[in-house]
Amino acid sequence: MLELHGVHTYYGKSHILHGIDLQVAEGEVVTLLGRNGAGKTTTLRSIMGLTPPRRGEVRFCGKALTGMRPYEISRLGLGYVPENRLIFTELTVLENLTIAWRPGHPWTIERVLDTFPGLAARRTHRGRALSGGEQQMLAIARTLVNGPRLILLDEPSEGLAPLIVQAIKALLLELKREGVTLLVAEQNLELCLAVADRHYIIDQGVIRYQGTTQDLRRNRQVQEAFLGV
């Protein structure tokens, strides 16, 4: 469904991604693990067209995304939940969802509010009044009502208390049961092992490892070398 072939991405003159290859099949949950600054966010931004690759190719559902603007990529069915959530703080919870909603898919605003009872209770509150965990839920909910076929999630557990991380884990597992395709960038190995089928480890802009959950769980050497576990 999503394929990256030899993606090289730069910020100005600094060369961040050095030929990333990566695939996600429909219905799969895949993680992109790595330390801070390894290139996880840049990989997701490259896919979304926010920081377009200078070389290489991103394909989604067989279509090359080269030269497309982020809004066009979004309309093809790629959803993006960014690092730091980027909740619209001046808008209410309901407004955050309303501007994101698009017709023609099962995730209506009502259904999302059923899935996230915490948000339903605060639907008239402004985004800035929400806690970090609620903002993360809203960021995911906002992308769901947008009707994506694949969701890119950037560090959903970052900066959240352990209890909230458990709630995020439960949510990701529920989305997986619903058949939502996910590519999750994370540092939290436990979370990744609990929710995903396959894993990539990125370090200094290069994919250093790929394997199944079973394989990564056993592979202490890889865990130590690239994740500092």
């Binding site: 982020p70 809004y71 960014p82 619209f88 001046e90 309303t98 501007i99």
Partner: protein, 289 residues
């Protein structure tokens, strides 16, 4: 004395409401595009001249008002999409240079097309005459101007506050990239925002024409005054533009009772004080609406 006070306060509201429209436009443009529109004053002047010619051609002040707003807005769209957009990824100084250059070119263009001599116009026949308030008489046109701009400002506020497009606009001011990642073509929205912003300047200018002398440089003083407004209120904020515009209008006109010479200077005293004590303005950093 009371008569003078009331009459100057009304004049203050007239000047103030016109400044509110100019500052709201300036704020919309700054909020969305993060540029200070140095060409705002010249769009104001251009709007005035377009309305002047359209009114002469059609015989209707209101056709002139609407036509000039549309034409000025359209020109704004062309300027944003054609000239500003390629510069967003460059150093911000390029926008400033471009907008300064455009302002000079348009100013000269106005002088070439319409000439340098000052012109005056009258309010439309429907709005001539005075209203007796009991203790003083007020020109009907001034009351109309205050009411018309108040309704227009209210409509803009309702649009921003209650409609989906208003919400998208507020969201785009905060996280433009995120809005784009939801499948919304934010560039088109920004272009429209620039067009609406300069169209509001044209409306503000046109409404003032029966009260002032029209001349090619008339946009300059408005630009400076509206900068004072946004410094006081906080740039990129609707409430700030509303408060700042009324405040500047009232202060200028009430000061004129005591000292007409000082009335244009006093607002800069306030501006200096704000820059020293509250540089973000009264409503700075408190969102768009």
């Amino acid at each position: 004395m009371l008569e003078l006070l009331v009459s100057q306060a009304l004049n203050g509201l007239v000047t103030g409401m016109s400044l509110v429209l100019v500052a709201v436009g300036l704020s919309i443009i700054f909020g969305m595009l993060r540029i200070i529109n140095f060409a705002h004053g010249v769009f104001y002047a251009l709007g005035v001249y377009l309305a002047y010619s359209l009114t002469q051609a059609t015989g209707s002040f209101f056709l002139g008002l609407v036509g000039s707003a549309l034409l000025t807005g359209l020109l704004g769209i062309v300027v944003e999409a054609g000239l500003l957009r390629p510069l967003y990824s460059e150093d911000p100084h390029y926008h400033l240079l471009l907008l300064f250059g455009l302002a000079l070119i348009f100013e000269e263009g106005i002088a070439i097309v319409w000439g340098l001599e000052g012109r005056t116009t009258h309010p439309p026949a429907l709005l001539q005459g005075t209203v007796d308030l009991g203790f003083t008489k007020v020109a009907l046109y001034r009351l109309f101007l205050i009411a018309f701009t108040a309704v227009l400002v209210l409509l803009i506020w309702l649009f921003l506050r209650t409609t989906k497009y208003g919400a998208i606009l507020r969201a785009g001011v905060e996280w433009p990239e995120m809005v784009e990642c939801l499948g919304i073509n934010i560039r088109r929205l920004f272009t429209a925002g620039y067009g609406v912003g300069v169209a509001l300047a044209a409306v503000a200018g046109t409404l003032m024409t029966p009260l002032v002398t029209i001349e090619p440089l008339m946009g300059n003083s408005i630009l400076v005054e509206s900068f004072v407004v946004v410094v006081l209120g906080g740039l990129g904020n609707f409430r700030g533009a509303l408060f700042g515009g009324l405040f500047v209008g009232l202060v200028m006109n009430l000061t004129a009772i005591v000292s007409p010479e000082f009335s244009n200077t006093v607002i800069f005293v306030f501006m200096a004080a704000f820059l020293l004590l509250k540089p973000e303005g009264l409503f700075g950093g408190k969102g768009v609406v």
